[in-house]
Symmetry: C2
Subunit: 320 residues, 2 copies
């Protein structure tokens, strides 16, 4: 029993021992780390280049193009009792090597690292479900140069007009203005495009399937959910069916409303009426605010580009 | 010395004692809490209504419109040794009272709460510099219904064209594509409007002062910094001076480039050239993508509305 325990302890310690089996385990960890970080979703942006070549007893991290380093708690084997001393040695090492932003990605199962990192002047940067990212700016001769994390929630609203001049409207269960008729819509999910988000939300809330027609308008404001700013993008979508099946969890009422009624309705707010008026003017004048798929020729990165076009019939000399 | 220490311990404990001075301190804390939370930047959105009326020995939280509750570590006086038992009693109390999302806003100086909350099935939701927000979804008969935090970084780029057909271009020190000529620009700061952000970034990077002319285009993509999506909003701005003073920290080169050279230049990427072509077509066709200030008449909330307009001279019958 004693030998099993001591082996477990040995294996769970940060690599200070050069016994062959540990070296092999460590080497595998390192290669997993490099793959994991290099394949991470922001590797394209940060150009993570390599696992940092560090001496024994120093946290291994991955370098970024800003001369920063990121340590991932899921890829470290440092024993809890050694965390503090390994951290101090690592900070000295990184300071000597002129590192700038030091990042610790701390997963839930290593949350005991958090108070230790706070004691060593780390702050919070961002968090997602199973990890919190903490940072410390090392150079004492330079002001910190780390951009804040995302602070804009993006939502989409859908102007769904059918061919008998009716608009699809919903009333939400937890509405800010109780009983108001709103456009169907909701938050854009991580990794989702705006057009896809609008089509998905309409189908989830009302069972109406739609096709993209045009962006209509953007509304930007501050102090929304979680203290974020919010950007609300209104899309005109064409319906492909008419039968409404409302989502009982989120929606209390849903209907097709005559557009003339909508433009006068007391429970429709002015901002929403204006979106409809704006879109009707776009149609009258042959304006479309389209969405194009593009691929960056050097970065090989996919983009959606949104821009305004105008029908040739409206402006015969236009090359738009 | 002993009496001072015991008083300190007493004061730092969660309020289980009804001695008058502690009640007064506690009452002040509660009123500070209500003010702080009700004045928080998302109070408008979440409609925080009141400090929850909870029995002694239960964390006091503030209710939101989704039947959730938020506990703020800066407004609690629970002694570290009592945290775990107060948490368990509170979770039972909230379960009995059908609370849904339970939120703990944990500031740096209470970071010892983090591992304890993880032990009680809390996860991370978001974090900013001096706090991490953790949550647990209580109802066992309902799937969790908590939207993810913001995951879109918003940046602005500026098309600054002067009256001799030159465009303002910069080359960044830490550019993704080394030596490339880019539009000046950068991330939108928390609480900042897009137009203000574009004007600020141009002035910071180049010392050129500008006025807003038109939005040009939006570019949306995934897998950018911190694993976020990013939205890049290109604005056309009119310069008010010509003398460039570049920001040495971020910019390696900056100049006015003839627009014809720009449209052919090998170190200007196609996506950027397309923004310029798009804007030139807007001007040719009398299109403007404007930004309006609006105030919601019921919520008294300020918005920026972005929408497309067309000059009357281009479409004499238009009412746009």
């Amino acid at each position: 029993m004693t030998s099993v325990l001591s082996r477990t302890r040995l294996l769970s310690r940060f690599k200070l021992n050069t016994a062959v089996p540990l070296v092999q385990i460590y080497a595998r960890k390192m290669s997993e780390r490099a793959d994991t970080v290099l394949n991470a979703s922001d590797s394209w942006f940060n150009k993570y280049v390599a696992v940092e070549d560090a001496p024994d007893g120093i946290f291994k991290g991955v370098s970024d193009r800003f001369n920063g380093i990121t340590v991932d708690s899921n890829l470290e084997t440092c024993h809890p009792e050694q965390f503090s001393s390994v951290l101090q040695k690592s900070l000295s090492h990184w300071t000597d090597n002129k590192k700038r932003g030091i990042w610790f990605k701390v997963y839930l199962n290593s949350s005991h690292w958090v108070p230790e990192l706070v004691n060593s002047q780390f702050k919070f940067h961002h968090a997602k479900d199973n990890f919190v990212m903490m940072y410390r700016w090392l150079p004492s001769d330079e002001t910190p140069n780390i951009p804040p994390y995302a602070h804009t929630m993006v939502g989409v609203g859908a102007l769904v007009l059918n061919d008998t001049n009716q608009i699809l409207v919903v009333s939400e269960k937890n509405a800010l203005i109780k009983g108001s008729w709103k456009l169907p819509g909701g938050y854009v999910e991580p990794g989702e495009n705006f057009v896809e988000a609008a089509i998905r939300e309409v189908q989830e809330e009302t069972n109406i399937k739609t096709k993209f027609e045009s962006v209509v308008s953007l509304r930007h404001a501050h102090g929304a959910g979680f203290g974020c700013s919010d950007l609300y993008i209104v899309m005109a979508l064409a319906p492909e069916n008419r039968e409404i099946v409302k989502c009982d969890r989120e929606i209390s009422k849903c209907e097709w409303m005559d557009i003339e009624d909508y433009l006068q309705h007391q429970k429709v707010h002015e901002t929403n009426r204006n979106f409809v008026r704006t879109y009707l003017r776009y149609k009258q004048n042959g304006l479309k605010f389209i969405c194009k798929d593009e691929v960056h020729s050097i970065l090989k990165k996919q983009y959606n580009i949104y821009q305004v076009e105008i029908e040739d019939t409206k402006l015969p000399n236009s090359s738009l």
